[in-house]
Homo-oligomer: 438 residues x 2
C-alpha cells in the first residue's frame, strides 16, 4: 500500500481519557477510532493486526481438531432462561426487545447457544469428543469502559466449547486446548504464562488463565522461567496422543506459576533461584472445565455405548482477540511507538523514500515495493525525512527500508530493524535477500 | 477433513417453514441451523462458503483501491439524529438502550458511521477520492423473516462508501465499483446482471441493482445476452484509467437490461432478437450515488484547492454476502442437492470410500486425501455406498473421487463432476492430475 493513498490517519493529540500506552498508541498510529463509549471502528492497519491474530488462533484451533462454526451475535433470551442464567447475569448483559416484543440479548458468551446446537445435532457417544469454536463479536455493557480495546464493550473473541463422554475425556480436551493456547501465544511473539484460576463450585484444578507479561499488567505473576523457554512449536507434542497430553499435564503441575492472589511461597521456594521469574500479567485467555452444568440444566443428553443416555461433560476456552491487540502493544513498545512481532504486524516493512520525486530514489523504492505490495507500506509522501522516521517508528513495522539519494546512486539502502534499532547498510541484492524478498 | 470426525450434521426432515429450495438445502446439507427467528448459526461447511464469498469480495474491492475497515455492529443513535434518519427509519431498526440509558441501535447500514469517521479524519481535497468498505454483520428486524438467509434478520454484508470532490469524480468511483461488482459475480461463478434502479430525490441514472439469475427470483429480468458473455476478468479494463471507466459507462448505457418494473419495450425491440434474454432475478447487490446528502446533513466538509470548504459527494455500494449463499444455491442446484461453483465450494472434492476398512481402498483414499486435507472432505464412514453418493450430491462438492475395491485393486478410480454428472474412469496418476493435485 502506498501511504499517499492509504487511509492511515495518525493523530498528534490524543484524548485525555486514553490513559494507558496501548490505547494512546492505537489512537496515535491510526489503528482504531472510537464511535461510541467502549465501541470502536478498526481502521485498515488495526484491522490487519486483528485479522492476523484471528488467523493464528484459527490455525492453532484447527490444528488440535477444534471445528469452526459461527454463532450469531444476537441470542434468544429463551435459551438463557433454560440454563437459569438469564436472571442471574448482571447488568453487563445487553438486553434487547425486538418489534414483536420478544426478548433478545447481545451474546456476552455462548454456552447456551452452543449447548443447544450440540443437543439438536449430536445424538450418540460415537460422535464424541467434539470441540466447536467461533470467532465472533460479543458485547458486555461495562459500567466504565476504558483502556481502549482492553476493556471495551463490543469486543472480538474466540470461544471454544468441548463435549466429552467422561471426565477423563474432558481432561484430555482441556489439555489439548492448553497446548493449542501455548502455541498460539508463542506464534503471536509474546510471553504468556498459564496460571491456576478459580474453579468455583465445580472444584478441581481445571481452570487456567493466560497472562501476557507486560509492565502495565493488572496482577503480579510469579513463574518458573521454563515457561519462557519452551518452544511449543518444536516440542514434539501431539494433541491426539493421550500420552503427550499426560506429559503436558505433568509439566503444568510441576512448573510453577501463579498470580499474586494464589501465590504459594512454600512452592515458590522449591523453584531454583535462577529460574524464579516474575512480572505483571494481562489476562488474555481463560480455559475452564465445568462438567455437566449446562447439559444438565438444558436437558441435553446423548446415548452411551450401553444405550443409556448421559449428559456430556463440557469445557469452555476463550481468547480475547481484540484485547490481545492492546495487550501485545503493552508488552511491546518503546517511547517512539509500537514494536510489532513479525507474525502479526500490519505490514512487514515500510519503505521510507527520503526524496520522493528524485528519479533514482523513486525507481529503487518502486523496485522494493513491487516485491510485496500487499505486505509493504510505501511512504511515498512528500514529507520531510524526520516525519517519515517518526511515523514508521510509531506504526512499528518490523523493518524499515530507508532509501535516500546518496545511497540510491550507489545502489545501497539502509535497513532498520525496529525491535533492536539495529541498522544495516546493504546493497540492493543483499537487502532483498535479508528481507526474504529475493 | 474426515467426515467421520466432522461436525457435518445432515437433516432428513426439513421444517415445514423452509419453503424455498436454498433454505431447504442449506438445512438438509448442514450449512446452517436456526437459533432464533431469522437468526442463524453457520455450521462448518456453511461458514466455509460464507468466508470464500467474503474473500472474493474483499480481493475485488481491494483490486479497485477500496480500503477495508471494520465498523462496529452497534451504533450510537446520536449519529442518526445528526443525519435526520433516526426517527424516519421504521421498525426494522433494532433500537437498544444500554445500562446508562443511552440509545444505541444495531446497524442496518453504515452511512452515518462512515461519514462521521471520514469527517473526523480527512481534511483536504488532496486526500480524495477515498472509498472505504467493511464486511460486517447487520440487523434488520424484518416483520416476517423467511427464506432462510435470503431474508434473515442478522445478515452479513459488504458495504462500501465513496467520497469524491466533485460529481464527475463520484461518477468515476461509481463505475469503478460497478467494474469490481461485475468481476465479483463472475468469480462467484454466477450470472448477474446490473439493472437500473430508482434514484429517488437524487435523480440521475447512478443507481443499479445486481440480479442473480435463478428460476425462483422475485422479479423478471430482460437483458442483452452480452451481459452473460463478457468475461470481466479478461476485459482489459483498469479501474484507475478514466478512459476505461468511460468505456464501461458506455457499455452499460448501450447494453439493455431491466427488471419488469422498468422494462422499456421500445428499447427492448432494438436488441437483436438472438441476443434477447430473460430470466428471474434475485437482488444481491446495489450501488447508489447520493451526492452530498449525508455530508451536508452531518456538516462534514473538506477544504478545496482554492481553500474553500465543500461537502464531498458520496455513493454507497452493498453486496449481501450471506444472502448470496442462498441466491447461488437457488441458481445452482438439482433434485439431488447443491452444485457449488468451484470458487466458493466448502470443499473442492469429496472422497467416497466405498469400502472403508478394506486395506487397498483405505490406502488409496488416504493417498488422495493427503494431497489436500484442508480442501477435501473424506467420507471414511462405514456407511453404505448409496448413503455416501447421496450425501456427496447433497453437499455439492464440484468433484467426487469414488474409490471402490475393484478399481482400487487395479489402481483405477472414478471421478464424477457434480455440475455435469460426467464420470471419468482414470488411473490414479491421471486422476490426481485432472484434479490439479499432482
Amino acid at each position: 500500500m502506498r501511504l499517499s493513498q492509504a487511509f492511515q490517519p495518525t493523530l498528534k493529540e490524543v484524548p485525555a481519557e486514553a490513559q494507558i500506552m496501548s490505547h494512546r498508541l492505537m489512537l496515535r498510529a491510526g489503528l482504531i477510532r472510537q464511535t461510541a463509549s467502549g465501541i470502536y471502528t478498526w481502521l485498515p492497519a488495526g484491522l490487519r493486526v486483528l485479522r492476523n491474530i484471528a488467523q493464528i488462533v484459527r490455525e492453532e484451533q484447527d490444528g488440535v481438531g477444534a471445528q469452526e462454526v459461527l454463532m450469531p451475535t444476537l441470542q434468544s433470551a429463551e435459551l438463557w432462561k433454560r440454563s437459569g442464567r438469564y436472571d442471574a447475569y448482571g447488568p453487563e448483559m445487553l438486553r434487547i426487545q425486538d418489534r414483536q416484543k420478544r426478548e433478545l440479548l447481545y451474546g456476552p458468551t455462548n454456552e447456551e447457544v452452543v449447548t443447544d446446537l450440540f443437543g439438536s445435532t449430536v445424538k450418540s457417544y460415537r460422535e464424541l469428543p467434539k470441540t466447536l469454536y467461533h470467532i465472533q463479536w460479543k458485547f458486555r455493557d461495562e459500567i466504565r469502559p476504558r483502556f481502549g480495546v482492553m476493556r471495551g464493550r463490543e469486543f472480538y473473541m474466540k470461544d471454544a466449547y468441548s463435549f466429552d463422554a467422561s471426565y477423563e475425556g474432558a481432561v484430555s480436551s482441556y489439555y489439548r486446548m492448553m497446548l493449542s493456547y501455548l502455541r498460539i501465544f508463542r506464534r503471536l511473539g509474546i510471553k504468556a504464562v498459564p496460571t491456576a484460576a478459580d474453579t468455583g463450585p465445580i472444584g478441581g484444578d481445571l481452570s487456567h488463565e493466560f497472562q501476557v507479561l507486560a509492565p502495565t499488567g493488572e496482577s503480579e505473576v510469579f513463574y518458573d522461567s521454563r515457561w519462557d523457554e519452551i518452544d511449543w512449536d518444536k516440542e514434539d507434542l501431539d494433541g491426539n496422543r493421550p500420552e503427550d497430553l499426560k506429559k503436558l499435564q505433568d509439566l503444568v503441575s510441576t512448573t510453577y506459576s501463579a498470580t499474586d492472589e494464589k501465590h504459594d511461597t512454600a512452592a515458590w521456594e522449591q523453584v531454583p533461584q535462577e529460574r524464579q521469574a516474575s512480572g505483571r500479567g494481562i489476562e488474555v485467555g481463560h480455559i475452564f472445565y465445568f462438567g455437566t452444568k449446562y447439559t444438565e440444566a438444558m436437558g441435553v443428553e446423548v446415548s452411551g455405548a450401553d444405550g443409556a443416555a448421559f449428559h456430556p461433560h463440557m469445557g469452555s476456552y476463550g481468547v480475547g482477540v481484540s484485547r490481545l491487540v492492546g495487550a501485545i502493544i503493552e508488552a511491546s513498545h518503546d517511547d517512539n511507538g509500537i514494536i510489532w512481532p513479525e507474525s502479526i504486524a500490519p505490514y512487514r516493512a515500510a519503505i521510507l523514500n527520503l526524496r520522493s520525486g528524485d528519479d533514482t530514489c523513486d525507481a529503487l523504492c518502486e523496485r522494493f515495493y513491487q516485491c510485496a505490495p500487499d505486505d509493504i507500506l510505501y511512504d511515498d509522501r512528500s514529507e520531510r525525512a524526520g516525519v517519515k522516521f517518526n511515523d514508521a517508528d510509531l506504526l512499528g513495522h518490523p523493518w524499515q527500508i530507508i532509501i535516500g539519494p546518496r545511497g540510491a546512486k550507489n545502489g545501497m539502502v539502509e535497513l532498520k530493524e525496529r525491535a533492536t534499532g539495529e541498522r544495516f547498510e546493504l546493497s540492493v541484492d543483499e537487502a532483498l535477500k535479508k528481507l526474504g524478498l529475493a
